[in-house]
Amino acid sequence: MEKEIICLSCPNGCHITVQPTGDGQYQFLGAKCERGEVYAHEEITDPKRVVTAVVQTDSEEMSYLPVKTDKPISKKYINPLLEKLYSQKINLPAKCGQIIIHNFMQTGVNVVITRTYPLVFKK
């Protein structure tokens, strides 16, 4: 089945038409550069996204803290990942960059906290 993909590699935003050639390969039309083909190939075979969410903490003072995947993760793992994040808790104190999930389902993707709490003030 033919599919159209908008390339996000640069602001040009090429509309790339992807046609399966029948042997499991694809043909790409409309990309102005090679990066477009690479992007479209990944989008058609294994699209990935950076996931961000908030996770509950063990404190009432700051009930939720933001987290992100440290690299894009395959779309098929996003829902299981969100379910895991919503069922878990962060113990304070928390530091920006601290890993709370290592190598989620062997994807090589970690989840890290993106906000330090509490802050340490000099005065």
Binding site: I6, L8, P11, T52, S63, T114, R115, T116, F121
Partner: protein, 420 residues
């Protein structure tokens, strides 16, 4: 009333306030920063998605991470930080400015400062600004408020959601709501093209098959206690065609319909406002009509990217230092006019002998647009821009060499920017 004395007071501890405070304090000026929220960072801590910092840090950060880079420097500096503190009014047309403040910790108190940076940011336009007919039930939020409820407070604003406006905050919220278990039924945009960037259209709407209705408006809100449905009508030749109106049942309506600089404090102090930006009129030093009062970030004009806010705020901090050191107390400045197809050009003045950086917004959508800078009939400089649209601010720089022979009878002549 208790009084405290500083060289510089920064009002607002968001992206603009933090960057200008750090710049100013590096020069050893005694600095205070105040914010009405209990935390530093302004809007950034609730913008948990990524895509910040590409220009400034050359990497993709989330909002809290972008803020963290400034916050960690701020809490380790000698700057006095006042949180939960609101500036209520100020007297600024005098060498030592007085700002009245109110906080839970200090009660009502006053800060005296030689210079002030206005960095209060902006606020969202809401239902009242659009004047949509219908009832007034619960379940109507601005997109940013919904974002705060979910990302900071941990509340779900609703389950079945319609979003009005395709600005980036609205698109980001469509994904956020979907990932938190809500169903986003429609995004309704009055313009024939999306206001947000392509990446957000792809990753926040297309990824979840959320329909985007271009050239459509919400024409009625229904519901007694809670939103029950909205009516959506297509625009044809600029007028709603009610014969094609359709209804979407939902319990929540979010508005992502633009931002307005928050300048009540500025206006009540008698500082002049630019009607095109909604922010104060500023000269090349980013100084307002009140001497020693500067402005930067979204309080000055609404930015699309936080990177440019930080950049402008650092510039503002440097200008403030030069001013307090007497280097720019009296400088000659010429007028800058926004001509054809430009909503505004900022700052509203230029000066000779150095680099001048201007920010502006287009009124048209065009590929390969030409920006011309003229003095009268004479073209000073011409720029070719790959793509312009109202939703994307752009910047150009004029070099000292571009700004020559502009003096007549001892006065600097006005220059005009126009786009075609």
């Amino acid at each position: 009333m208790q009084e405290r004395n500083y060289d510089v007071l920064i009002i607002g501890a968001g992206a603009a306030g933090m960057a200008s405070a750090l710049e100013v304090a590096r020069q050893g000026l005694k600095t205070a920063i105040v914010d009405r929220e209990p935390f530093l960072g302004g809007i950034l801590p609730q913008c948990i998605h990524n895509g910040f910092g590409v220009h400034l840090f050359k990497e993709e950060l989330t909002g809290p991470e972008f803020a963290e880079r400034f916050i960690q420097n701020l809490v380790q500096s000698d700057i006095d930080i006042y949180l939960n503190t609101t500036a209520t009014n100020m007297a600024v047309h005098q060498p030592v400015k007085q700002v009245n403040l109110c906080s839970s910790q200090h009660g009502v108190f006053r800060i005296n400062a030689r210079a002030i940076v206005l960095a209060m940011g902006c606020r969202e336009r809401n239902r009242g600004n659009l004047g949509i007919p219908g009832t007034r039930p619960a379940g109507i939020f601005t997109a940013g408020l919904a974002q705060r409820l979910i990302n900071i407070d941990g509340y779900m604003p609703g389950k079945r959601v319609v979003i009005v406006g395709s600005g980036d905050i609205g698109l980001i919220m469509a994904r956020r709501l979907t990932w938190t278990g809500a169903e986003v039924l429609a995004v309704v945009e009055i313009l024939p093209y999306p206001s947000g960037i392509t990446r957000n259209i792809v990753q926040c709407l297309n990824d979840f098959n959320i329909p985007l209705y271009l050239s459509h408006i919400v024409t009625r809100i229904e519901g007694k206690d809670r939103v029950e449905a909205v009516e959506i009508t297509p625009l044809e030749n600029g007028t709603p065609n009610y014969s094609k109106t359709f209804k979407v049942e939902c319990d929540t309506l979010l508005f992502s319909v633009g931002l307005v600089p928050e300048n009540e404090l500025t206006q009540s102090a008698g500082i002049k406002i630019n009607p095109e930006t909604g922010g104060p009129l500023v000269d090349t030093r980013l100084m307002t009509s009140a001497e020693g009062v500067f402005a930067c970030g979204n309080v000055l004009h609404v930015h699309d990217l936080v990177d440019w806010v930080s950049d402008e705020a650092q510039r503002c901090g440097n200008e403030l230092i030069n001013y307090l050191q007497g280097k720019t107390e009296k400088i000659e400045q010429g007028k800058v006019i926004a001509g054809a197809n430009l909503k505004y050009v900022l700052p509203n003045r230029y000066r000779l002998g150095e680099k001048n950086r201007f920010s502006m917004r287009s009124l048209i959508v065009k590929d390969k647009a030409t920006l011309v800078v003229r003095q009268g009939e004479k073209t000073i400089r011409q720029f070719t821009l790959r793509h312009v649209k109202p939703a994307e601010m752009f910047h150009v720089e004029l070099k000292p060499d571009d700004l020559k022979d502009l003096v007549s009878n001892g006065e600097l002549l006005p220059i005009e920017f126009s786009l075609s």
